[in-house]
């Protein structure tokens, strides 16, 4: 059995562990009681939910994205790079069949994502507030994820790097349920409760209201 098949199998086992671990976390939160807001509804919750998941993150709506626009752009590039690297992982057995335009796009996106990821480590260490906030888990999570994206870039250009890509993918996937990377699941819960709570209170998503953001 060659290295690529063995390491791909290890990566798939890592994916299974990741899915099981995240399923446990989802089970934990779903077993918590849901606290109803008993106040009289003052806004449109549906509209607010839509806002929370879409425009609510746009620079013209959210002051923090304007103030921290470098971190915002870096975050977007990083996350798009992560999703592209995941796509590379799933398509990796058939990389040779991927059209040149698509693989070229994937190369660019993963390159940008990897640079953005590693830059994030530097930003976290050099900026005073971020350094005070940061934990070892933060640094390691960004490092392992950025390495994953960087190796996806490498695998696209040099398929000989596929085994190391799969090993790092496995390491990242196993680490996800235990680390801050699990925010990939909790993001949807927190955004939902934000949209629902603030929409119920008429703070956002209200067509006639102005709000300070």
């Amino acid at each position: 059995m060659n290295n690529v098949v063995v390491t791909r199998t290890i990566a798939l086992i890592g994916l299974l562990i990741c899915i099981v671990g995240l399923a446990f976390k989802i089970n934990d939160i779903m077993n918590r009681p849901y606290k109803r807001d008993l106040s009289r509804p003052r806004g449109n919750v549906g509209q607010s939910l839509l806002y929370a998941f879409t425009l609510g993150m746009a620079p013209w709506e959210k002051e923090s994205t304007r103030i921290h626009w470098i971190a915002y752009v870096r975050g977007i590039l990083f996350h798009v790079g992560v999703f592209m690297a995941l796509a590379v992982f799933f398509v990796s057995p058939w990389l040779a069949a991927v059209p040149l335009l698509l693989s070229g796009l994937a190369v660019l996106v993963t390159a940008a994502g990897a640079v953005a990821g590693f830059a994030g480590i530097w930003m976290r260490w050099t900026e005073e507030n971020l350094r005070a906030l940061s934990l070892p888990d933060d640094y390691f999570s960004i490092f392992v994820t950025s390495s994953f994206v960087a190796l996806a870039f490498a695998a696209l250009l040099w398929p000989v790097t596929l085994p190391i890509f799969y090993i790092v993918t496995a390491a990242m996937l196993v680490y996800i349920p235990f680390s801050k990377i699990r925010h990939c699941v909790y993001f949807f819960y927190s955004k939902f409760f934000f949209g629902q709570g603030f929409g119920h209170r008429g703070v956002i998503g209200h067509p006639d209201s102005d709000y300070a953001a």
Binding site: D28, S64, E127, L130, L133, H183, G195, F198
Partner: protein
């Protein structure tokens, strides 16, 4: 707000009070609070949304830093890595210093205005910590 205000014996943490505090945390740990405690990625963009931070830019006035004091206790109770390797994820036991920080965060440097919630990329309901 100065530390002298916390020297009164009412604020002294005893074993019984610590157990009571942790029981209250466990009872109040609903879905919304759990999501808010888990999802923070410590990006720090909430800083300038807080009036306290804008007036006095100390790291203790960053909303994420304030909330992190409660998260440290939460992780020591609920996070597998928090129990196995506390320093890796910043888990900590409830002690007098932690109580002082929590009281300062909840009653001294937060008006529950909610601006941090609106500016958080994750929509973390920071005011829940004060409740």
């Amino acid at each position: 707000m100065t530390d002298e205000k916390f020297t009164d014996e009412r604020f002294e943490l005893t074993e019984k009070k610590a157990e009571l505090a942790l029981d209250i945390l466990r009872q109040r740990l609903n879905r919304q609070l759990d999501a808010s405690l888990e999802v923070c990625v410590r990006c720090g963009v909430c800083a300038e949304s807080c009036h306290y931070y804008v007036a006095n830019p100390k790291v203790e006035h960053v909303p994420a830093y304030r909330a992190e004091q409660l998260r440290k206790i939460y992780r020591s109770l609920s996070d597998p890595l928090g129990k196995a390797v506390p320093s890796w994820v910043g888990a900590a036991k409830l002690d007098q210093e932690m109580v002082n920080k929590l009281m300062s965060a909840a009653f001294g440097t937060c008006t529950m205005c909610g601006r941090c919630v609106l500016n958080c990329p994750m929509g973390i309901l920071n005011m829940l910590y004060r409740v």
